[in-house]
């Protein structure tokens, strides 16, 4: 028995010293990467760049509400049960939104997440040597393009925003005040000018989906045309460069949106989605389907759905449908009609889906227009599609170029590009050209591509058009509140989100939202 304490002490010692302090106390996660193991190889920078691209995926949905439903192109279907659920989304369309509307908040947040990821790459790649120079230049160029893209989205929707241009590693440096609109545009332009030489010209079609030189030039043209001091000459130069690249108009307008023909010769930049379980699918088409318990006639998917809750947004207005010229192929490619019955509870059952062109309402039937542009059914699973979202198309570039040329007094040039686009749509040449004609052409060519609101602003028509539109909506729907559609120049930009103002006392709210 006397030996026991020695064994004991020995045992204790073994247990104690078998634990190496360093390995015991330095634990890092095993199921995901952490900062301790990332940005250590060239491959990591490639992955980080993809991480910046991934921030594009949620933008189209925000823009549907903020750039299309805010305009006279679309409205929403009123549903009594939505009262406590969807008010924030409805408020944007009615100009009663405040700084807590979640789309406004999420768009702001999402853009800055993208910017922060871009800043991290730009800061870290400078001192990173284990990479070929060409690869490094391409990564930098794509990153700069994306940062410019996010800042352009911010400045065109919120005005001058804080300019964060460095990686954030601590609390310091996160409380910047707002920069001016000019400063933000300045940064967008500077980034793009720096990015363009490093970006390839699109040569192979279908393209990969990455940004190309054409994408950057298109964004640069938009920046020149949207900034407070518009520069038509510089914008025209960039657009002419695009004309000299390998883009053409697709023969059939509807093919531009066909998932089987993604990233086509007409595509300058589009947001990429993939159907399936990878978490990379899109679902925006489902938001556009009328509120109904069964969508089979539209989606080809015969299951009971929650669609009464999710559908009925971005509904094309009668005003828009009525402005298409006869024979414009773009109408049926963009809008369809769901016709059916509506019971006492307001439940709509679809009986047939028909073309919008020439549709006459049937007695005893209810009908809803819906956006058909992104519907390529049948789908296999609800809310899971592979539809891409177009950001810049060649047709858009031609119309924008026409806009610049007209502003510079070149009517003939402007007319040529407008007619090029009209011919593809099956329409005859125009004989004369005007600002209004270009605006109308853009409205039809780019309908539901989230351009209308910024187009109206650029044309200086937003207040006038939306006041008229609001008066019409009010006379149509008794439930619209008297304070709705109070459209003032202040409402041309959105509020800085509530949370940001609460947290950062250096920020000042936009007028009209205080």
């Amino acid at each position: 028995m006397k030996r026991i304490p020695i064994y004991l002490l020995l045992l204790g010692t073994v247990v104690n010293f078998s634990c190496d302090e360093q390995s015991l106390l330095n634990l890092s996660p095993q199921t995901y990467q952490s900062s301790s193991s990332f940005f250590k190889s060239g491959e990591h920078f490639e992955q980080a760049l993809i991480g910046v691209y991934s921030c594009l995926r949620s933008l189209p949905e925000y823009a549907v509400f903020m750039d299309e439903m805010r305009s006279d192109n679309t409205f929403f279907t009123f549903f009594a049960g939505d009262r406590s659920q969807a008010l924030h989304a409805e408020s944007i369309a009615q100009f009663t939104d405040d700084d807590r509307a979640s789309y406004t908040t999420n768009r702001y947040t999402n853009n800055y997440v993208g910017i922060s990821r871009a800043n991290t790459i730009l800061d870290r790649i400078t001192g990173f040597s284990d990479m070929e120079e060409a690869t490094k230049n391409r990564i930098v160029a794509e990153t700069l393009f994306l940062r410019a893209f996010f800042y352009f989205d911010l400045v065109s929707h919120y005005g001058g925003v804080p300019l964060q241009l460095a990686e954030i590693t601590s609390e310091e440096g996160t409380f910047l005040p707002r920069a001016t609109e000019e400063e933000v545009y300045g940064q967008v332009i500077a980034d793009l000018v720096l990015a363009i030489p490093g970006l390839p010209v699109a040569k192979e079609f279908p393209q990969s989906g990455r940004a190309s030189s054409g994408s950057a030039k298109m964004l640069l043209a938009y920046a020149y045309l949207t900034q407070p001091n518009k520069d038509y000459a510089k914008a025209a130069q960039e657009l002419r460069d695009i004309e000299g690249m390998n883009y053409t108009l697709m023969a059939d307008y509807a093919d531009c949106f066909d998932p089987a023909q993604k990233n086509s010769r007409e595509s300058i930049f589009e947001i990429q989605y993939k159907e399936g379980n990878d978490g990379l699918h899109s679902y925006f088409t489902w938001l556009f389907i009328p509120k109904t318990p069964n969508t089979v006639l539209i989606t080809g998917l015969n299951v009971a759905t929650q669609h009464i809750r999710w559908g009925g947004w971005n509904v094309p207005t009668r005003d828009l449908v009525s402005t298409y010229e006869k024979g414009d192929k773009r109408l049926n490619a963009s809008v369809a009609v769901a016709e059916g019955t509506e019971d006492a509870n307001g439940t709509f059952l679809i009986e047939r889906v028909v073309n919008a062109e020439g549709y006459k309402p049937q007695p005893g039937k209810a009908y809803y227009y819906f956006v058909n542009k992104y519907n390529h059914s049948p789908y296999a699973v609800e809310y899971n599609t592979g539809e891409n979202w177009p950001i810049f198309r060649y047709a858009d570039a031609l119309l924008l170029l026409a806009e610049c040329l007209l502003e510079q007094g070149d009517q003939t040039g402007a007319l040529r590009y407008v007619n090029q686009v009209r011919n593809r749509a099956g329409l005859a040449n125009l004989a004369t050209i005007s600002k209004e004609a270009i605006l109308k052409e853009r409205r039809h060519e780019l309908a539901f591509e989230n351009h209308r609101w910024l187009d109206l602003i650029r044309a200086g028509k937003a207040v006038e058009v939306m006041q008229q539109f609001g008066a019409a909506v009010k006379s149509q729907y008794g439930w619209v509140l008297p304070n709705a559609f109070n459209v003032t120049p202040e409402k041309l930009i959105y509020p800085i989100p509530f949370r940001e103002l609460q947290i950062n006392s250096n920020l000042v709210q936009n007028p009209g939202y205080q």
Partner: protein, 1010 residues
């Protein structure tokens, strides 16, 4: 059954044997009483019958009879051979040995602030969680029953402890082992005592985990000479009282409301659809209440508990074995909790100096509580927001699966949802403590212990097609299901060396040195199944699409500990302790921390100058100061997380990654410095014992995610910037009284806890209340934490004139809700109602909390009750924002009948109109949803009767008890302790359709075998 014989026979000359029988004043045999011959080392203990036998050498010998809880008695043997003794229960508990961190100490010598509860006093409460039994029993501990769901843990908060992100749950230490499991897997019947360590002196040996206080659980073990078998059982019936149930409209009232709703839409909004037929004639519903969607989910539920305990204390092997089965059906349909648990605690004395111990406890828990029962628009609330004119059951006994009503979303049948969704879970837990202890020289002991906590959990979920869906989407839909597993292993190896020495009877030392290592690893996996073909197979393998994932995380801590206790002349006391912790949870720049404490005590009543104060039996003044930490910041928060952020290129997955959270390599524990001043007074032969404590503590370096502007790309960064101050008073009074055969013990405790926020991040950015509803708490510098923040409700704009002259919100109209204009963008009232007009409208922190316990024993009868209460804390019932939603989409409270409809018919001025687009404002948090949450609750009342027997069975006790018999409160909701976030300092007092607390009537039987 004679186990103990006098040992040193050979030593005795003229030896003779004395036998006797020891009883208490109720004439019950006392087992385990130590019988010592004064001045000699021989000792024996009484057996299970209370009999002893001892050899004495002379008539002048004196026998000393001692037992815990009884006054020690000395009796000269004289010429007797039989010596029967009646021991008197001691009134003073100063000699009681209480469990503290890494050891035990006599209560009189304790210099830290520790509250203890003897578990035997709690045994009659038929509840399966020890936390519930402790309500009202411990000064300084707020223990709330925030949700009645079976198997839910109680919320415990010691000395108002709070943290922003690191939680305020105390560290739970079971038999010396800081466990992962916590309290829910251990049966209360296995527990011998509970010590709650409160001040830094008591807790600093738990270092970086001690800031929220420490609860030490000691499980039952045998003492030498103790032998018995006992069996306890109880059965109960649980039900929910009517007080505070949702005050929803009946069928007729609701039909009337909807009819008026459409009439008003026609009048004000050009609505032309007419009143739907269902609501055109409310009178057809007559007096029929319609479906009470809350009541149909409730039931009277049985509960049961069985416990078998076998204790055998031989001289060299002491074993205590406990087996327990408990089962509780929930008062809501389809919920239950069952636990089978066992424990064997053994100590084997190999020799006088060497002992080995092994404690093994296991438990298996079966639980069925549906997820998403409680909270905003979750199952319970979704049900009672239903139209009451709907019959949930068809006349032929079948059930419809969905409903659709004009202007309301289609809904599932909530009765079926609650009845038919499946969510079984199982968990198995094994807790072991093994030790070897060797006394190297007298007083110097070395101990090594190895502890393991192993847990394994499995849960499954299935939503059949006919109950799939929710508040806004009706069944049938394709079923979904999932299958989740998790397991953990926590091990702890600890080496301690202790030395006890008394020099010249004046200087008494007690030292401790130790080294410990603990590591915990968690693993989890889940499989989600969708697109089930039908309801036939609920397991996830029937699903057509299955997606799975797995994860793991771990943490480790390495520590050195040391303590020195010193007392001089039994009246001057000193205790100094330190722990040094290194933790994997902290950033590379801050891996190690030291947590020291020092305490001084003075037993003034030992001084001569106080000897002549006859009424004063005991007076101790103690003081402590020290530093402890809180390390609950997540395992890898100091590292930035890099998560997958993929994109599609070429219509293929392109793997992307991005930082999804900001790390901080300086991240470390938060430190709480605590000062404590205590006074203990025993008066009137210690019949009245009073303890007073004042504490002051400062928590700084608060670990929390500072909200930072989104322009950084992140919403928060974890940092150590923040400071809270806490202070408070605790008073505990205990009185033990004896009136012939009647014993009356009473205790009262009152705690005053205060706190103040001093610093939050670098910019003092307030936390919380960034949304106007469902986000009620704001924590701001210069105020107590977690206050309610909202508008000041000011009725309704009753007339056009009132509307024209009063400040308005964007959507305001005549007849909509009116708030007070108290501020604006410039801090001044600006004639507009905007979020700037919100202010602090309530404080959930109580002024004080208190508990009262009383026990009466008269002969074989006993009666006891426990009351617990709280005064001055506010509570928000935000479920009212849905039951007063005026958009016509939900059933509403009866009050809504008196809403504003027109200038001529303006209602009672409290409830606004139903005009489309204006009703959201009324649901924003404002003062009308804030109530005084003060209450006094009868937590437990017990009557018992003991039948003493002699043969085979020592005694049989019958008792009846009632849990939650009444609650006195002005709070109109069901449970003033309800709180969605438990007792989290930043989010207390928020009631939102929680699982109701039941009243339990039970009968119990306990049999003690000989």
């Amino acid at each position: 059954m004679q186990f103990d014989q006098p040992i040193f026979r050979e030593f005795v000359a003229q030896e003779r044997t004395i036998v006797g029988h020891v009883v208490d004043r109720s004439n019950n045999s006392l087992q385990g009483v130590t019988v010592t011959i004064k001045g000699a080392s021989r000792t024996t203990v009484t057996d299970v019958f209370g009999n002893y036998s001892v050899s004495v050498s002379s008539d002048t010998n004196v026998l000393i009879f001692s037992a815990i809880g009884f006054e020690t008695m000395e009796v000269p043997v004289g010429n007797r051979t039989t010596l029967n003794v009646t021991l008197v229960e001691s009134i003073s508990n100063l000699e009681e040995v209480i469990v503290v961190g890494y050891g035990t100490v006599q209560k009189r010598n304790l210099v830290g602030s520790v509250s203890t509860v003897d578990a035997s006093k709690l045994q009659d409460m038929p509840v399966n969680n020890i936390g519930q039994k402790l309500q009202g029993q411990i000064a300084g501990a707020q223990i709330y029953h925030t949700s009645g769901a079976p198997g839910n843990n109680m919320a415990i908060r010691i000395r108002g402890a709070a943290s922003i992100n690191a939680g305020n749950n105390p560290l739970i230490v079971i038999d010396g082992f800081p466990t992962v499991t916590g309290l829910s897997s251990i049966s209360p019947d296995e527990i011998a005592s509970i010590s709650v360590l409160k001040d830094a002196s008591a807790t600093s040996l738990y270092g970086s985990r001690a800031a929220n206080g420490v609860v030490l659980i000691t499980t039952k073990s045998a003492v030498a000479g103790q032998h018995n078998i006992s069996f306890n059982t109880s059965v109960g019936l649980e039900s929910v009282g009517d007080r505070g149930k949702p005050n929803q409209m009946s069928a007729r009232e609701f039909a009337q409301f909807k009819k008026e709703f459409y009439e008003d839409a026609a009048r004000y909004e050009g609505y032309t659809g007419g009143v739907p037929e269902l609501y055109q004639h409310p009178e057809i519903y007559g007096d029929n209440q319609g479906t009470d969607w809350f009541d149909i989910l409730l039931r009277t539920a049985p509960s049961q508990n069985y416990n078998l305990s076998v204790v055998s204390g031989k001289k060299d092997l002491k074993s205590s074995i406990n087996l327990n089965y408990t089962r509780q059906e929930g008062v809501m349909l389809n919920s239950n909790f069952g636990r089978f648990s066992g424990r064997a605690n053994n100590v084997y004395d190999v020799s006088d100096r060497f002992s080995i111990g092994l404690n093994i406890g296991f438990s298996h828990v079966n639980r069925h509580v549906l997820p998403k029962m409680e909270g905003p628009h979750q199952l319970i609330q979704a049900a009672y927001l239903m139209d009451p004119t709907i019959e949930y059951k068809n006349a032929d006994g079948t059930y419809p699966i969905s409903f659709s009503r004009p202007g309301m979303f289609a809904n599932p049948n909530w009765y079926l949802v609650v009845r038919d969704r499946q969510s079984p879970s199982k968990s198995t837990n094994l807790l072991t403590n093994a030790f070897l202890e060797y006394e190297i020289i007298d007083g110097l002991k070395y101990k090594i212990s190895a502890n393991g906590d192993i847990g394994n959990g499995v849960s499954r979920y299935f939503e059949p097609s006919h109950v799939r869906g929710g508040l806004f989407s009706a069944p049938p839909q394709t079923p979904i299901g999932n299958y989740n597993t998790n397991n953990f292993l926590s091990w702890l190896v600890e080496n301690t060396m202790t030395y006890q020495k008394t020099i010249n009877e004046a200087h008494s030392f007690d030292g401790l040195l130790g080294y410990s290592v603990q590591k915990t690893t968690f693993e989890s996996g889940s499989i989600d199944g969708t697109q089930y073909p039908d309801n036939e197979i609920s397991w996830v393998n029937a699903a057509n699409i299955r997606l799975g994932q797995a994860g793991t995380n771990d943490w480790s801590i390495l520590s050195y500990i040391g303590r020195l206790n010193y007392s001089y002349k039994n009246r001057y006391l000193l205790s100094a302790a330190i722990r040094r912790d290194g933790s994997s949870k902290f950033g590379v720049n801050a891996k190690w921390g030291n947590f020291p404490s020092v305490a001084l005590g003075w037993i003034a009543s030992e001084e001569e100058f106080l000897n002549h104060v006859n009424q004063l039996d005991f007076l101790k003044i103690r003081m402590s100061n020290g530093k402890v930490g809180n390390n609950n910041i997540g395992d890898y928060t100091h590292l930035s997380t890099v998560s997958a952020a993929n994109y599609a290129l070429n219509d293929q997955v392109a793997a992307g990654r991005a930082k999804s959270s900001l790390g901080n390599s300086n991240l470390t524990w938060e430190t709480t410095s605590q000062f404590d001043l205590g006074v203990e007074v025993g008066l009137f032969n210690n019949r009245l014992f009073a303890t007073y404590d004042y504490y002051w503590k400062r928590t700084n370096g608060l670990l929390y995610a500072i909200d930072i502007p989104q322009q950084s790309g992140f919403s928060s960064i974890s940092s150590n910037i923040g400071e809270f101050n806490f202070w408070g008073h605790e008073v505990e009074l205990q009185s033990k009284n004896q009136f012939n055969a009647l014993t009356w013990n009473a205790s009262l405790n009152i705690s005053f806890n205060r706190n103040l926020v001093k610093k939050l991040g670098t910019n003092d950015t307030p936390i919380g209340a960034y949304n106007l509803s469902w986000d009620p708490h704001r924590t701001q510098v210069g105020r107590p934490m977690g206050q309610f923040f909202g508008f000041i409700y000011d009725g309704v704009y009753m007339t056009q004139e009132e509307f024209d002259t009063q400040p308005k919100r964007a959507a305001s109209m005549v007849g909509t809700v009116r708030f007070k204009d108290i501020s604006g963008p410039d801090g001044m009232p600006d004639g507009q109602i905007t979020p700037d007009d919100r202010t602090f409208i309530g404080d959930p922190n109580p002024d004080f909390i208190y508990g009262i316990t009383n026990e009466f024993t008269y002969k074989n009868f006993d009666f006891s009750f426990v009351l617990a209460g709280s005064v001055g804390g506010d509570i928000v019932d935000e479920s009212l924002s849905s039951t007063n939603d005026l958009a016509g989409i939900f059933n509403v409270t009866k009050d809504v009948a008196k809403r504003w409809r027109s200038i001529e018919n303006p209602g009672d001025g409290r409830i606004p109109r139903t005009r489309t687009g204006t009703t959201k404002d009324f649901t924003d948090l404002s003062t009308w949803m804030v109530f005084d949450g003060s209450y006094l609750a009868a937590k437990n009342i017990t009557f018992g009767y003991r039948i003493p027997l002699k043969k085979y069975i020592e005694s049989v006790r019958l008792y009846g008890s009632i849990q939650n018999l009444f609650i006195l409160t002005n709070y109109p909701g069901m449970n003033p302790e309800a709180s969605r976030n438990g007792l989290n300092g930043l989010g207390a007092g928020w009631d939102f359709a929680s699982y109701p607390i039941s009243r339990v009537f039970s009968l119990g039987l306990s049999i003690k075998f000989i």
